[in-house]
Structures are given as structure tokens and as C-alpha cells.
């Protein structure tokens, strides 16, 4: 059969592959969602104020405050887009409204934003650290603690070059996160939440102390944001510096100043990316997250910038503290010098945490967006090919980090230069998102969970037409700022347009290559596989019996565990399901996964190899693809849905079998009821097997304990009326008593347990390892049904 004939073999000749079209997610609360977004959005508070003041003068905080208020409106647009598209993100929205070309441009602008987030955050963190080191040198010198030799070496008080040190620091941290992402760093909302908790403590201290300082020193407010108070630097006027536009047109000056402050709201896109994972009721929780983000960023970035200008004297604010404004605030508070220095150290630690976290977010975000467009066929599979050892999309990570390192080196550690360029990506991705939403108001008139208010209805040709006043207003502001920024931000325009053009070209060429290639892959798939799309995974849909063995596969070079499973399983009695958890990052498809989004030539090779192995053993297997955000969660959810009795995996390159089992146990605990226990086998390359039981199960009892139960039972049997008492009743009574004792005096029970039992390590709380014996292997072949334990208060 020729590849291009289009004829498809009969169904019976082809292997069925069930494709789940909904991503298996673990959902997070609105607090965690807000924390993830604020890790990106909140980090701009550390540099936005200084950058804006450098450009427009002392009135800058009013503009930052204005931008933070306007961010409410921009966020409102994102909430509407998220209520329409759960998978959200500017790419999807723009593609729906304006088509592929605009979508590719919007992604290029977004990539520019993401790629610059890393360098600006890393360099800013470096500026805070280098500034602190110089301050500590000065303080030590004032106390005479610096040796003369060091004085001679530095020709005075020792100091380090702030910009170069900041650039070096940014390079080191970027390389660190590059390696973490190559290995496949675990994205954790816990981490984001903890960073935001610490940041909140710092913000509360900062604001309370700053307000006290302002009241104590009777500090004046910054000059009002009126044209005569604007003092633009030459760089701030960009291509217009030889014209009188910025000075003579009063309102135009306000517009330019607003454009220089817009980077304070960078990070809004993260809200669309994290929306998919917000727990039910999704829209209500999204609104709650939006409110938390709004209040926090308004208070921290907006009020913080205002108080900084009020507290730090003009003489040093721009010249010394421009790049570490919050450190400057710490040093000019009212109070003892040592206390201020300690607080500055705290500010730097928090800055390091949130800003270095933003570097990681930028790599993860860019990786997610590029994977997302890759799934849509806009980037060739070459980029998405997984790392041989770690299974990550290392080529995309390499590309992102290389661009970030190039940017850091090119900037020489200058935050102003980076900030100048940064605004391009921010404003254009917002603008395209808002125009797309505006178009969709007329294109898709259906109900939305949220509509940007206000909307008025006017009668038109016998019917009522809705005019989206609010949405149009937001677009007008964003568009005018984006256009004027093209003229006033010279560096941003040159770098942004150049970068976007290169990415746009890559996307366009890739799409053409992919279309040609996919036509071939699709034909191959049609010849060998029969794809069945299902919204969710169900046992009946996959057509397997209860008690199946679920084999997880990822890399076609390491399928030894599949061979082991087929060797040890009688497939006439127990079905074998081969599952690939297709990892999808932030912004990846939530629903409507098309065939081309799921099957690249990589998946084709993986499944062809799995089928070929099964054919070698003369056994049948079922194939399953599950899109997932978290692989562990996907495995336990699938095992539960299929009523599998065993899960088989190969040994991971990143973690031990015990760690794999622990992660699986954690995912099992997080899964909602009803849930089933199962056996987890990790097959090593030498075919030895580690076996674990996931979920509550009958514990392995020591021989002496069994004898003790039996002895008690024999004793009880001596009494009359004890005919109906069994061994299990004795265990039940003992456990009930232990449960009661535990609720009365936890410490005493724990003390006795620790004294008498050397139990499993805390890590092994959710599973119990069993020795790799013939018995456990046999059990895997024919798993027995576990009887759930009676409910026991306290840890298992």
C-alpha cells in the first residue's frame, strides 16, 4: 500500500490505541495559584521602581501605582479568556480569534517576555547581593575590621563591581536552573507558596516600618504625575529624543511615562497558564486568585515604589539604590543601623528566593509554551525529542537558556537595559490577547463565565447588540502604549522586533516541515494503529478485565520492564496495558487534543516497538496514551480507573525504586475516593524486581505476633459463649484500644511504638516494601484482592 494512497487496512489488522483527550491533573487551591503567579509578578517589585524612575523622574511611583491599578483591568481580560478556554494562554486565544499568523507573532512576543524574565530577575538578584556585599564592606571598614592589605589592593574600601558581579551571579543561577530543568525539576506549588509566605512577612515589615518612617520624618509625596514634573532621560525618549513630542504634548508625555512603567505588571500570563490546575469551582477560585494577586502586587509593587521615593534621599536613590531600591528603603528607615542592616540582609534573602525562582519560572514557562506550540505542529519534533536519560525536552531548554545567557552577557549586568527591552514582550502579548478577546466577543456570542465589565446593549436593526465598553477601553490603553513604546523604547523595539521576527520565521518554517512530515506519519499510524479517542479513561473503554497489569513506558530504548511483564504474566487471564503518560506543561492542551498533538514520529516508534515486543512473546497488549501534568498522578488515576492490580515501571534514572514508590504513594493519597490498592513493581535492568504495595493493605505480621494472637484466642476459648470469637476479633479489639489510647495520649503511644518497633522510615508511609521473593513475583502474576483495614485513627 502506498503511503499516499489514503486507503486504510481493516480494523482487525490494526492495534487499538486508546487516547485519553483530557489531561490528568492534580488540582491546586486559589492560594497556591496566586502564589505561583506572584512568584513572577511580585518579583518585578524589586526592579520596576528603579527602572521607571531612571526613565521618567521622581514622579515614577504614581505611574507604577497607576499601572498596578490598570492591572486589575488586564487581569479581568485574562479571567474572561480563561473562562472561555481552560487551557488558556495568549496562543490559543489569539489563534481562535485572529488565526495562526497572529498567534505565532503573539507567541514570539511572549517568548521574548519569558526569555528576558530570566536575565532581568537574575541580574536584579545579583545587584541586591552585590550591593549588600559592598554595604557590608563599608560597615566593616567603618569599624576598622578591614586589613590594610585589602585596602591597598582596592585603593580604599574594598568593593566589587556591581554590574559584572550581578551578571556573573545571573549566569551561575541560570546554569543551575538549566541543569535542574534538564534533569526534570519538579514543579511544586508548595515551593511557590512558601516563597510567598516569606515574602509576605518581609512586605508587612517593610510597609509598617516604612509608613512609621514616613510619619516620623514627615516625608513628602513624590511630585504629582503631571507633564511639567516629568523628566525624561535621553534613553527614555528613544527614537523621539530629537523631537519635542515628549515635552510639548502634555498628555503624550503621560503616555510615554506609563509605557515605561508597564513592566511592573509582567507575569499576568502566568495566570492563564496556571488556570488549568485551579480546583473546582474553577471560575470562582480563579477570581479569588486574581483578587489576591491584585491586592498583593498593588501593595508590594505600587505602594512599595511610592514609599521608596519618599524615604530614600534624592542624592542616593538613583545613583546608589536605583537597582536595589528595597535595600535602599531598608537602609533609610528610622531605627538602629544594625537593625536596618539585618533587615537589608532579609530583603536580599527574599529577593534571592523570589528572583531566582522567577528564572526557573521563565525556563519552565518558555519550555511549556514551546512544547504547547510544538504540539500544535508549529515547532518540529526535533525540538521536543526527549533527553535519553531524563526524558525532558532538553533541546528546548538548551535553546531558552542559551538565549538567556546571551542576553545576560550582552547586557553586562545592566538592569536598566534589560528592563527597557523587557517591556516589549509584556505589552505586545497583552495587546494581542485583549484584541483577540475583543474579536471573540463578536465572533463567539455564547455565554462566558466572566465578561469584562461594563457592557451596554444598544438596539440595532431590530435586535440588541452588545458593546464591550470595558474590553475596548483596555485594548485602547494597551494598544496606544504598545505603539508609542515602539518609538520611545529603542532597545526594546530593535531587540523585540528582531527576536520576534526570528521566532516567527522558525515557527513558520517548522509548521511547513511538520505538515509534510505529519501527512506521512498519519498514513503510517492509520496502517498500523486504530486510534480511539476517549474523554476519560474507563476500563470498559480500554476493553480490559479487572486486575490488569499497567506497564508505564516512556523511552523506547528502555522497555525491559515490558519484557519482564510479558514473561511473567499469563495474558489469557490477566490483561497487560501499556501506558504512555504524555507530559504536558503549563499552557498545554486541556481538551481537544488532536491526533497530530499526540502522535509525533516519536510516539509512533515507541508504540511500534512495544507492539513488536509483545508479538515476540506471542501475547496481546492494550495501548493507552494519557495526557498528564504529573506523571505519578496520571499513573495512579489510570490504575484506579482500569481497576489494575499491578503497575510495572522501569527503574528511573533520576530516583531509586523506593523514591518512585514514595511518589506513587503520595499521588495515591491525594487521589479522591473511591480508590483501590495495587502492587507496584520496579524492574531493574538485570531483571531483579522491587515490589511495593501502594495504599492501605494487610500488614505483614511477625510470626511471634501471629502466635500471640493465637495464644490469646486459645485462652479466650476456654470461656463459655466465646464460640463466635475469631482471631480477627482479637486484632480488631487490640486496634480499637490502641486507637483510643492514641487519641488520649499520642506521645505515650508514639514512645512505646518507637521503643518496641523499628518501623518504616517516614518516607515510606504510603507504601510498604516487600522483599523481592518468588512469592511476591507470583503474586504479581495473579494479584490477590486486598481487604481494606478497619479504620484506624492516626498514621498507618
Amino acid at each position: 500500500m502506498s503511503a499516499g494512497s489514503g486507503a486504510v487496512p481493516p480494523l482487525s489488522n490494526r492495534v487499538r490505541i486508546v487516547v485519553a483527550t483530557s489531561v490528568m491533573l492534580t488540582f491546586i487551591s486559589y492560594w497556591r495559584a496566586a502564589a505561583i503567579v506572584l512568584n513572577d509578578l511580585g518579583s518585578s517589585a524589586f526592579y520596576a521602581g528603579g527602572i521607571a524612575e531612571q526613565a521618567v523622574g521622581k514622579s515614577a511611583p504614581w505611574f507604577i501605582l497607576g499601572v498596578m491599578l490598570f492591572a486589575f483591568a488586564v487581569r479581568s481580560v485574562y479571567v474572561e479568556s480563561c473562562s472561555m478556554f481552560t487551557r488558556g494562554g495568549v496562543y490559543r486565544v489569539v489563534k481562535e480569534a485572529l488565526g495562526g499568523a497572529f498567534a505565532k507573532f503573539s507567541v514570539s512576543a511572549l517568548m521574548f517576555d519569558y526569555i528576558l524574565t530570566g536575565p532581568i530577575s537574575g541580574v536584579s538578584a545579583g545587584q541586591y547581593i552585590a550591593g549588600l556585599i559592598n554595604e557590608l564592606f563599608s560597615a566593616a571598614d567603618a569599624h576598622g575590621w578591614i586589613p590594610r592589605a585589602m585596602h591597598a589592593m582596592f585603593h580604599g574600601t574594598p568593593h566589587i563591581d556591581v554590574n559584572h558581579s550581578a551578571a556573573a551571579f545571573a549566569i551561575v543561577v541560570t546554569l543551575y536552573y538549566w541543569w535542574q530543568n534538564i534533569k526534570g525539576i519538579e514543579e511544586s506549588s508548595d515551593k511557590a507558596l512558601r516563597v510567598m509566605q516569606i515574602t509576605t512577612v518581609m512586605v508587612v515589615i517593610l510597609l509598617v516600618w516604612a509608613i512609621y518612617t514616613v510619619l516620623h520624618t514627615h516625608a513628602a509625596l513624590p511630585p504629582l504625575p503631571i507633564p511639567q514634573n516629568l523628566k525624561f532621560s535621553d534613553d527614555a525618549l528613544g527614537f523621539l529624543k530629537n523631537t519635542d513630542l515628549g515635552k510639548t504634548f502634555g498628555l503624550f508625555g503621560i503616555l510615554i511615562a506609563f509605557g515605561h512603567s508597564v513592566l511592573a505588571m509582567s507575569g499576568e500570563e502566568s495566570l492563564a497558564q496556571v488556570n488549568r490546575e485551579i480546583a473546582s469551582p474553577k471560575l470562582r477560585n480563579l477570581k479569588r486568585a486574581a483578587l489576591i494577586i491584585a491586592i498583593f502586587s498593588f501593595v508590594f509593587t505600587g505602594l512599595g515604589s511610592m514609599l521608596a521615593v519618599m524615604i530614600i534621599p534624592d542624592a542616593v536613590r538613583v545613583s546608589v539604590y536605583r537597582d536595589n531600591l528595597i535595600s535602599g528603603m531598608a537602609m533609610y528607615m528610622v531605627g538602629p543601623h544594625m537593625l536596618k542592616l539585618i533587615f537589608r540582609v532579609f530583603v536580599v534573602v527574599v529577593g534571592f528566593l523570589i528572583l531566582s525562582g522567577a528564572i526557573n519560572t521563565s525556563i519552565i514557562g518558555s519550555n511549556g509554551v514551546l512544547n504547547r506550540v510544538s504540539e500544535d505542529g508549529v515547532l518540529t519534533d526535533w525540538f521536543r525529542r526527549p533527553h535519553k536519560r531524563f526524558g525532558t525536552s532538553y533541546r528546548i531548554v538548551n535553546l531558552i537558556v542559551a538565549l538567556q545567557l546571551f542576553t545576560i552577557i550582552g547586557s553586562g549586568g545592566d538592569v536598566i537595559l534589560l528592563g527597557d527591552a523587557y517591556a516589549f514582550g509584556v505589552i505586545w502579548s497583552f495587546t494581542l490577547n485583549s484584541v483577540a478577546m475583543l474579536v471573540l466577543r463578536f465572533k463567539y456570542k455564547g455565554e462566558r463565565g466572566w465578561r469584562v465589565p461594563p457592557n451596554i446593549k444598544i438596539p440595532w436593526r431590530g435586535r440588541k447588540v452588545e458593546i464591550p465598553l470595558g474590553l475596548a477601553s483596555v485594548f485602547m490603553v494597551l494598544f496606544s502604549v504598545a505603539v508609542v513604546n515602539l518609538f520611545t523604547k529603542e532597545n526594546a523595539t530593535i531587540a523585540g522586533v528582531g527576536f520576534s521576527a526570528v521566532f516567527f520565521a522558525i515557527f513558520t518554517v517548522s509548521e511547513k516541515i511538520n505538515k509534510r512530515k505529519f501527512a506521512h506519519v498519519e498514513q503510517q499510524m492509520k496502517e498500523h494503529f486504530h486510534l480511539l479517542h476517549q474523554e476519560t479513561i474507563a476500563r470498559e473503554g480500554v476493553q480490559v478485565r479487572p486486575g490488569s497489569v499497567l506497564v508505564t513506558v516512556r523511552d523506547y530504548n528502555t522497555l525491559n520492564h515490558l519484557r519482564w511483564t510479558l514473561e511473567t504474566t499469563d495474558t489469557t487471564e490477566t490483561d497487560v496495558v501499556v501506558m504512555e503518560a504524555r507530559l504536558t506543561g503549563y499552557g498545554s492542551a486541556y481538551q481537544d487534543l488532536a491526533m497530530e498533538q499526540i502522535f509525533s514520529d516519536y510516539e509512533q516508534t515507541l508504540f511500534t516497538k512495544a507492539v513488536s515486543i509483545a508479538e515476540n512473546y506471542g501475547k496481546t497488549i492494550s495501548l493507552l496514551v494519557v495526557p498528564a501534568r504529573d506523571v505519578w498522578s496520571a499513573i495512579v488515576q489510570t490504575a484506579n480507573s482500569l481497576e489494575s492490580s499491578a503497575v510495572v515501571s522501569g527503574v528511573s534514572s533520576k530516583m531509586t525504586g523506593e523514591e518512585q514508590a514514595f511518589r506513587l504513594g503520595q499521588a495515591w493519597e491525594a487521589m479522591p475516593e473511591p480508590k483501590r490498592q495495587f502492587v507496584f513493581n520496579v524492574v531493574r535492568p538485570d531483571n531483579t524486581v522491587e515490589t511495593y504495595r501502594v495504599g492501605p493493605h494487610t500488614p505483614t505480621m511477625k510470626t511471634e505476633d501471629v502466635h500471640l494472637v493465637h495464644k490469646i484466642w486459645l485462652d479466650i476459648k476456654k470461656f463459655q459463649g466465646t464460640e463466635d470469637i475469631h482471631h480477627s476479633d482479637i486484632v480488631t479489639l487490640a486496634l480499637t484500644r490502641l486507637s483510643r489510647d492514641y487519641s488520649l495520649d499520642k506521645d505515650d503511644v508514639l514512645k512505646n511504638l518507637k521503643k518496641g518497633v523499628r518501623g518504616p522510615s517516614p518516607k515510606a508511609a504510603n507504601f510498604v516494601r516487600e522483599p523481592d521473593t518468588e512469592d511476591t513475583q507470583k503474586r504479581t502474576e495473579s494479584p490477590r484482592r486486598e481487604q481494606p483495614m478497619p479504620p484506624v485513627i492516626g498514621p498507618r
Binding site: 486589575f72 513630542l245 503624550f252 465598553l469 475596548a472 477601553s473 483596555v474 485594548f475 485602547m476 496606544s480
Partner: protein
């Protein structure tokens, strides 16, 4: 060059009016969004 001059002196300044109109229109967006999102905090799941 003439075209650039025309763009800079006649077209670009028009954006300030677009900006002003947008800012005025954005005020109710900000107020209503703030109120509605705050209400979501009080709603029971």
C-alpha cells in the same frame, strides 16, 4: 523622511487621545472587577 515626520508629528500624537479614552473607560472596569472578585471571596463553595 517626510513620511516619518508626518507619522511622528501627526499620527503618533493621536494615540494620546486613544490612551485617554481608554483610561477613562478602564476606570469602571477596575472598580467593577475589584467589587466582583471581592464578592467571590464571600461566596460559599
Amino acid at each position: 523622511m517626510q513620511k516619518v515626520n508626518f507619522l511622528v508629528h501627526h499620527i503618533l500624537p493621536l494615540f494620546q487621545y486613544l490612551f485617554l479614552a481608554g483610561l477613562i473607560g478602564a476606570v469602571p472596569v477596575i472598580i467593577i472587577t475589584a467589587i466582583k472578585t471581592a464578592q467571590s471571596m464571600l461566596e460559599e463553595d
